[in-house]
C-alpha cells in the first residue's frame, strides 16, 4: 500500500520533472511558430490554416528558405477562442520553443488575451484576427494581414447602398468577439452614410432557431439584412428565411463566401453578397496559381484562412530575409517597411500593424463565390 503510494508519488515527480526539463528541443531548421485551433469547435479553421502554412513552407524552402536555411513551423493548439489555451500555446512558443515569429492566434479574443505576454518584443505575431481592438492596444509586435472589421463593414455597406437599391436595412449579428465587433462597425458605417437601420437583432453562439430574430427583422420591414456571424449560423439563418418566405436579401461578413456556408446553405445561398479578403475567382495570376496548386495538393477547395496563413508565412519569410536576422526587433522594422504582393492584398503596414487595406465584394452565383469588385482603401484610413 505504502510502496504503491510512494511509487505513485515518484511517477508524479518524474512527470513534473518532464514538464520542467522536457521542453525546448533544438532544431537545425529555422523554426517559426503557429498558434491555431487544432481541436475543439473551431478545428475546421485550424485545418485550413495548417494546410495553407504547409504549402507556403514548401514554396519558401524551394526558393532557398530563410537566411539560407530551410524554414519550418511548430504548431501549438489554442482551441480558437479559448483564452486559457491560447495563453499556454503562445507561452510555449515564446518561452519554450523561442520562435521569433508566430502565425496567429487567429481569434481576436485569443490575441487580446496573449498580447501582454509577447508585446515586450520577444516575438512577432502575424494574424488574421479582424477585431478592430487587436491593433489598438499599443502593441508594436502585432501585424494584421486581413482587412479589419471596420474596413470590411465600410466596403460592404458602401456597396450595398450604391448597388443593391435598398432603403430598409436590418442587422443581425452573433454575440461573440467576431459578430459584436463587426456589427458595431457596420452600424458606424451605416450612420456615416446617414442610414438608420430599421432593426438590429442578435443571436448567441450555437443558436439554431432564428425564427424570433428573422420575424423581428421582417416586422420592421427590412429589405436587406446585413449578417455578421459564422458560416454555420449564416447558413441556418438564410435557409430559415427562405423557408418562411420572408423575401429579404442578405449581405455580410466573409462567412458568406466560405465553402462551409455555401455547402450548408445550398440553393438558399444564391445571390448573397459578402465582403471577403480572399476569393478563388480572383483573376490575379498569383491567386490562380495558388488555387490550382492547393486543389492539386489537398484535393480541397482553397478558402480564406488557408490563403491568409499562406500569406502570413510568405510575409514572415520575406521580412526575415529583408532583416537578415532572426531578431524580432529587426524583423519588425523590416515588416513595417515591406511592400509585398500577396494573395489577399498588396501588403503595406501602418504604424499600428494593419497591413491589408483592401477587400473584395463577392456574390454567390451557381454555388460559387464570384468577384463583383475590389475595394481599395487609402492606407491612412
Amino acid at each position: 500500500m505504502v510502496n504503491q503510494d510512494k511509487r505513485k508519488l515518484r511517477d508524479l515527480t518524474c512527470a513534473a520533472a518532464l514538464v520542467v526539463f522536457g521542453a525546448g528541443i533544438a532544431a537545425a531548421d529555422t523554426m517559426l511558430g503557429a498558434s491555431a485551433p487544432m481541436t475543439g469547435p473551431r478545428a475546421l479553421l485550424g485545418h485550413h490554416f495548417q494546410q495553407g502554412v504547409r504549402m507556403a513552407i514548401a514554396e519558401v524552402n524551394a526558393a532557398g528558405g530563410v537566411l539560407g536555411e530551410p524554414v519550418d513551423v511548430i504548431f501549438a493548439d489554442d482551441q480558437g477562442d479559448n483564452p486559457n489555451f491560447a495563453l499556454n500555446a503562445m507561452s510555449k512558443l515564446k518561452d519554450s520553443d523561442r520562435v521569433p515569429v508566430v502565425l496567429g492566434p487567429h481569434f481576436s479574443v485569443a490575441q487580446l488575451a496573449t498580447m501582454k505576454n509577447y508585446c515586450d518584443g520577444t516575438l512577432i505575431s502575424i494574424t488574421g484576427a479582424s477585431g478592430v481592438p487587436v491593433t489598438e492596444q499599443g502593441c508594436e509586435y502585432v501585424f494584421r494581414i486581413r482587412g479589419n472589421d471596420n474596413l470590411q463593414a465600410q466596403a460592404l455597406v458602401t456597396y450595398a447602398l450604391e448597388h443593391l437599391g435598398v432603403e430598409k436595412i436590418g442587422v443581425l449579428y452573433i454575440h461573440d468577439d467576431f459578430g459584436k465587433g463587426g456589427s458595431e462597425r457596420v452600424l458606424a458605417a451605416l450612420e456615416a452614410a446617414g442610414v438608420e437601420p430599421v432593426s438590429v437583432a442578435s443571436h448567441n453562439p450555437h443558436d439554431t432557431d432564428f425564427s424570433a430574430q428573422l420575424n423581428t427583422l421582417k416586422a420592421a420591414g427590412a429589405e436587406l439584412v446585413i449578417l455578421w456571424t459564422h458560416d454555420q449560423e449564416s447558413a441556418l439563418i438564410i435557409r430559415q428565411a427562405q423557408q418562411y418566405n420572408l423575401g429579404m436579401k442578405f449581405a455580410g461578413s466573409t462567412s458568406l463566401s466560405q465553402p462551409t456556408f455555401i455547402e450548408l446553405a445550398g440553393p438558399a445561398a444564391e445571390g448573397v453578397i459578402s465582403a471577403s479578403d480572399f476569393i478563388a475567382d480572383n483573376e490575379d495570376a498569383d491567386v490562380q496559381a495558388f488555387v490550382a496548386k492547393y486543389r492539386e495538393t489537398y484535393n480541397e477547395e482553397p478558402e480564406l484562412y488557408a490563403a491568409t496563413y499562406y500569406d502570413s508565412l510568405r510575409l514572415a519569410a520575406q521580412a526575415i530575409n529583408d532583416a537578415g536576422s532572426l531578431e524580432p526587433a529587426a524583423i519588425r522594422d523590416a515588416l513595417s517597411k515591406i511592400e509585398y504582393d500577396g494573395l489577399l492584398a498588396d501588403y503595406s503596414c501602418t504604424a499600428t500593424g494593419d497591413c491589408n487595406h483592401q477587400t473584395n465584394i463577392v456574390e454567390i452565383r451557381d454555388g460559387q463565390p464570384a468577384m463583383l469588385t475590389v475595394v481599395k482603401f487609402d492606407k491612412s484610413e
Binding site: R42, H203, D209, A212, N215, T260
Partner: protein, 290 residues
C-alpha cells in the same frame, strides 16, 4: 409575425417535451436525472445522418428505425454499465457522473464524425405550407405529428397494459417488485432504452431543422430537464406541458423582449417556477423535494 414565432416555438417545445418525457421516465424508475440526455440527442442525430443516411444510403424510415434501435441498445447497455451503479450513490455523485458521461459522449461524437457540421434535407425536403399567412415547414408538421403520435401511443400503453403498472411497481419498491416476479433489471434497462429512443427521435427530428453538430443537443437536454421541472418532477403529462410551455415562452420572449437573452429567459422561467411553484404545473405525489 407573432403566430409564426409561436409555431416555431411550439415545434421546439415538442422536441423539449420528448426529451422531458425521457427524463420523467428515467426519474420515475431509476431516481436519476440524466444530465447527459442532450448528448444522447446529439449522438443519435450523428448516427442517423452520418451513418445510416449518408453512410448506408437508407431511406428516412429505415434510417430512423436503425438509429432508434442502435440508441435503444446503447441505452440498455449504458443503463447496466453506468447508470445502474449511480442509483446507490449520493445525489451529487450521480449528477456529476452523468455530466462527465455527457462530456465523453460529445467528444466521442466529435472524434468519430469530425468537426464539420452535417446537413440533412429531411424526408419531405425543406419546403413549407402557408396556413393563413403562417409558414409551417414540412419538418415542423412532422415534428408535431410524431410527438402527438408518441404521446397518445404512450398514454394508451401505460393506461391499458401491465407495463405502466410494472414500471410504477419497480419505481415504488424494487425489492417487492422483484418478489412479485417483475424482472426489475429488465424494466430498468428497458425504461432507459426507451428514454434513449425518445432522445433519438428528438435528434432525428431536429437534424433537418438545424445542422448536425456536436453542440446541437447540450442545451436541448438541459431545457428538457427544465421542462420536466416546470411540468412537475417525474410527471408525464407535466413533461409534455412543460416542454411546450418552455418552447412557446422562450421564443415569444425572444421575439418580444430580447433574442440575445433567449437562453437566459428559459432559465429565468425555471427560477421563477422554483421559487413560486416548485412542485410544477402537474405535481407528482412522489416528487423529489431534495
Amino acid at each position: 409575425m407573432l403566430a409564426q414565432v409561436i409555431v416555431s416555438g411550439l415545434a421546439m417545445g415538442a422536441i423539449y417535451a420528448l426529451v422531458a418525457l425521457g427524463h420523467a421516465f428515467v426519474w420515475k424508475t431509476m431516481n436519476i436525472v440524466n444530465f447527459a440526455a442532450g448528448e444522447f440527442v446529439t449522438f443519435s442525430a450523428f448516427i442517423f445522418v452520418a451513418t445510416f443516411i449518408n453512410g448506408f444510403n437508407l431511406n428516412f424510415l429505415l434510417a430512423a428505425f436503425f438509429a432508434a434501435a442502435v440508441m435503444a441498445a446503447l441505452g440498455a447497455a449504458f443503463s447496466r454499465i453506468v447508470f445502474a451503479r449511480l442509483q446507490n450513490q449520493r445525489v451529487f455523485v450521480a449528477i456529476i457522473s452523468t455530466v462527465g458521461f455527457g462530456l465523453f459522449l460529445k467528444e466521442l461524437a466529435r472524434i468519430i464524425y469530425g468537426p464539420q457540421p452535417l446537413y440533412y434535407d429531411g424526408p419531405f425536403g425543406q419546403g413549407a405550407v402557408s396556413l393563413g399567412g403562417v409558414m409551417i415547414t414540412y419538418q415542423q408538421i412532422l415534428i408535431f405529428g410524431v410527438a402527438i403520435t408518441i404521446m397518445v401511443g404512450q398514454y394508451l400503453v401505460l393506461r391499458y397494459s401491465m407495463l405502466g403498472k410494472v414500471m410504477r411497481a419497480t419505481a415504488l419498491d424494487r425489492e417487492t417488485a422483484a418478489l412479485m416476479g417483475i424482472p426489475v433489471n429488465a424494466v430498468l434497462a428497458g425504461t432507459f432504452a426507451y428514454a434513449c429512443v425518445l432522445a433519438a427521435i428528438a435528434g432525428i427530428l431536429m437534424a433537418p431543422l438545424f445542422f448536425v453538430t456536436t453542440e446541437m443537443g447540450t442545451l436541448v437536454g438541459l431545457k428538457g430537464f427544465v421542462a420536466m421541472i416546470i411540468g412537475g418532477f417525474g410527471s408525464i403529462p407535466g413533461a409534455i406541458l412543460g416542454g411546450l410551455l418552455l418552447g412557446f415562452s422562450e421564443n415569444t420572449a425572444a421575439f418580444l423582449i430580447s433574442a440575445t437573452y433567449k437562453d437566459a429567459i428559459a432559465f429565468l422561467v425555471l427560477l421563477i417556477f422554483l421559487v413560486i411553484r416548485p412542485e410544477g404545473l402537474i405535481p407528482e405525489a412522489n416528487a423529489d423535494r431534495a
